[in-house]
């Protein structure tokens, strides 16, 4: 299901000392592997240190030898998720922008299913090998399109941050829909906002929540692309 990941890493890979035949040696690889399996089969929220420890026949404290915390584990899971993520070619400038927007939308949608993971990525920037390849590809597309080196460098950060925060935000919103009919939201408050106190809000009321999530996402990437090309 997943290939061996070679980390170019200053961090020494811990060497398991479990020698008892009834227990397999622990490793970062097995930890991430089990976490990914549980996530895929039961959802990210089921990936708890206790659950993973149980799967590996150990105690949760043992896992901290291999990952610093859950955020780091989430970063590794993101790299797993990127295993099957198709990156576009860089061989021609034609249609580079469409390819980049498509890539960003797909990445956002990938993360969309795992909002907690996206939120972790706002805590610690991912840096696994597959994520690096994603960055490299985005930079390559921007370069192919003639964007200045500085704008490309700062722009990749901006684009991926936007993808991450969009997934964190909207993925969570969808999770919360069930049983929240009475819950006060920005939408409900805005619908009742007094035109005296909030004149512009009242005027824009119809548009504020118009469009599908997909339409708005695509529009936001177009906005970002336009700005990156011309600022």
């Amino acid at each position: 299901m997943f290939v061996t990941i070679v980390f170019v890493s200053p961090r020494r890979e811990p060497v398991s000392r479990r020698q008892r035949p009834a227990k397999a040696p622990l490793s970062r690889e097995s930890l991430v592997g089990v976490a990914f399996r549980v996530m895929r089969e039961e959802g990210l929220e089921r990936v708890t240190m206790r659950r993973l420890a149980s799967e590996l026949d150990t105690g949760p404290a043992s896992l901290y030898v291999y990952v610093r915390n859950t955020v780091e584990l989430h970063g590794a899971l993101l790299d797993e998720l990127l295993a099957d993520f198709v990156l576009p070619g860089l061989d021609t400038p034609v249609g580079w922008e469409e390819r980049l927007i498509d890539l960003l939308c797909r990445y956002t949608e990938l993360l969309h299913g795992y909002p907690s993971l996206a939120r972790s990525m706002l805590t610690l920037l991912p840096h696994g090998p597959r994520y690096l390849r994603l960055i490299d590809c985005v930079l390559g597309l921007l370069h192919t399109g003639g964007v200045s080196a500085r704008n490309a460098a700062w722009g990749v950060d901006l684009l991926l941050q936007h993808a991450t925060s969009t997934a964190a935000e909207h993925g969570t919103r969808e999770e919360s829909v069930t049983g929240e009919d009475e819950m006060e939201t920005l939408a409900s408050v805005a619908a009742e906002a007094s035109p005296e106190r909030y004149p512009h809000l009242a005027r824009a009321r119809e548009e504020l929540f118009s469009g599908t999530g997909r339409e708005r996402m695509r529009w936001s990437f177009e906005v970002l692309m336009k700005g990156i090309k011309t600022t």
Copy 2:
């Protein structure tokens, strides 16, 4: 320190039943007040349900009558933070863009001191009265600048999301600096990335982490503004 907040709210304000003379009645207002005080004096991470309950001479479970969860509490705290946030005037179109970018940078910096709070805002969109006024002001500035109604409506969302995610991201990064010298980061990994595997990353290495946080933040808002005006 804070004024009475009037909520336009479908949610009925709970009425405390504590009649014993030794304990003041509970209320959402007192809860938020205590939380804000603790946050200001000791930091957001000290604002725990147990701490607040202790301050209010009750048990943590009692607080859930007044706030649904910590995210909702954070939303209320954000509105408190906005009490002294100065909104620019809308009387003239001259310099509207500079005013808007300034406002967004200030808002980002405000949130920057409270990254956990910013992350909560990615879970649940804020909707307190002062936040509504912020939205109204942004919309007003975009309107003053001649941005289409649709772009303004979708743009305010985009701009404030970007502010929030920037604060969530960078605020956390600064918190982590102490004692993390050995920690593997995107920067360290990128510095060692093989030009064969990551050609564009290697080429952009110098620029990827150039500029100050403030420079990049300002640039990103300029990018967004450019895109919103012209897409």
